[in-house]
Amino acid sequence: MKQVVFISGKGGTGKSTVVAALSRMAGDKVLADCDVDAPNLHLLVRGTRTYQADFSGANAALIDREKCVECGACRDACRFDAIQEDYGVEPMACEGCGACMLVCPTDAIRLTQVKTGETYVDDTSLGTFSHARLDIGAEGSGKLVTEVKKNLEQYGKDEAWALVDGSPGIGCAVIASMTGADAVVAVCEPTRSGKSDLVRVLQVADHFGIPAFVCINKYDLNDEITGQIEAFCRENGIPLIGHIPYEPAVVKALQSFQTPVEAGLTHISDEIGRMWDALAAALNNN
């Protein structure tokens, strides 16, 4: 199975729209949404839930008040100010590192697993779909992303392709999304911020040695910056495989839960289809 992860650096450039459109066009594939704290692909890819589980992606200290002698050693050891005046543990501050447990003279502290989200696998007409939801404000998004990808392999049936919707940014969630990928496709827009964020996320892909491709969405919004992105890709040997035009009807279609494919926006969907052909050809030659 070849895994392609769609990333963007900057949010809102059209990653999920492109993946949802491709889900209607590409055959023999599974799907995943690794944007676990703002997942959206499930709104456009619906099916029957076949698996659902709680996910524990973090630990937190628990102090046994019977054993605690209130010596304060734990508070001195804690670098996250998580132990309160009354020896309660502030859950949002606790990192689950266990330093407190190591210094406690009366063995009053242990680490307990904390639920940080839920994982889901759906059976859909477009293929098996693995996704998740991070609990509000929870940590460990990278671990949850890794679980989503593990489920993809476990519940997939050795399809040719895995299409993975990534998250914005360059930190833990993005690094976890890219891990094990055969290629990343950076969907960007020709804005000054879009270009700045694209360059940073491509550096991350390069850092981890993952082949990258670029697609410019709304390319005709600013010819000058589109030109700069094209030049950047040329200079760095990164294939530019898509130029999707600005089309307000794409947003209108999304408002009724449609991708450009069902909405009949053929000038958009044809370009996404050409991009997929170019990508598949490049990866199949490897």
């Binding site: 809102g12 703002a38 670098r79 833990c172 911020s193 964020d197 940073r200 550096q203 919004l221």
Partner: protein, 275 residues
């Protein structure tokens, strides 16, 4: 007064709103989106200082280490492993908690600074941004370092990362008000609900700005009305605004009504003195 601008979904216009508020008010701008900071593109500050953000990671004194493996057992983040008596460090996984040092019976673990990002600022510190280095997964220490440089003498606008994970929690903690920016699509509404859940859980007063608003689509306004949430402002969907944004221009720089509208917003959310 600390005002955080967040969104749930990325690309809804957080930076547009945060930078516009900063342009009309006499306030400090803090770019907490340390993975992809963009405020400088719009506010064009003269960045004159760059301060490294370092975190403490373990260093092992091999003359003292006997390879017992207690440090690796203590580490909850798999940042240390001991294979055949040799200590291997994976510093990018380290959470800087110091547990390995506590666990070591031979006092062989010390700590050394490791740079994971920088804080950049203009001469008077009215503009500050964090920038995470490429390949680094852990953002929270950069956000915390940034927040140590928040000014107390003026209102502060914090431009937050997208999503609703721990990085957003670290950004909006201790803020007095949150502005939630969204757009009228199923994605925008879905992620707005997540962001609303977060600010409610943290008990911070908030209001909503609808960006790329369309007359025909009232889903955000309907949701806000049903839930008693204030809609602070609507910015229409327009190719003109999008093209200006592409060039690094804010709507208020186009003149006209936008300056007044952001002035009213700034006053309404308690920003204080204006330019």
């Amino acid at each position: 007064m600390r005002i955080a601008v967040l969104s749930g979904k990325g690309g809804t216009g957080k930076t547009t709103v945060a930078a516009s508020l900063t342009s009309v008010g006499i306030c400090q701008y803090v770019d907490c989106d340390v993975e992809e900071p963009n405020g400088a593109i719009f506010l064009k500050p003269r960045l004159t200082s760059s301060t490294p953000v370092t975190v403490a990671v373990p260093a092992v004194d091999l003359s003292r280490c006997d390879g017992c493996g207690r440090c690796a057992e203590a580490c909850q983040f798999h940042a240390i492993s001991v294979v055949k008596g040799t200590v291997l460090l994976f510093p990018e996984l380290c959470h800087h908690c110091g547990a390995c040092g506590i666990a070591c019976p031979r006092d062989a673990v010390s700590e050394t600074g490791r740079e994971i990002g920088v804080i950049e600022a203009d001469p008077d510190g009215f503009f500050i941004q964090g920038r995470l280095h490429i390949g680094e997964p852990v953002t929270i220490p950069v956000i915390q370092a940034l927040k140590k440089r928040i000014r107390e003498d003026v209102p502060v606008i914090l431009d937050c990362p997208p999503g609703a994970s721990c990085a957003v929690v670290a950004s909006i903690r201790d803020c007095d008000y949150c502005v939630l920016v969204t757009e009228p699509t199923p994605f925008g509404l879905h992620d707005l609900k997540v962001a609303v859940g977060l600010v409610q859980q943290m008990n911070i007063p908030f209001g909503v700005v609808v960006n790329k608003a369309m007359n025909g689509d009232q889903r955000i306004q309907d949701y806000c009305m049903e839930n008693g949430i204030t809609v602070l402002m609507e910015i229409p969907f327009s190719r003109e605004i999008a093209e200006g944004y592409a060039r690094g221009m804010l709507p208020i720089q186009a003149g006209g009504e936008w300056r007044d509208r952001f002035l009213s917003l700034y006053k309404a959310i308690g920003g204080g003195n204006v330019r």
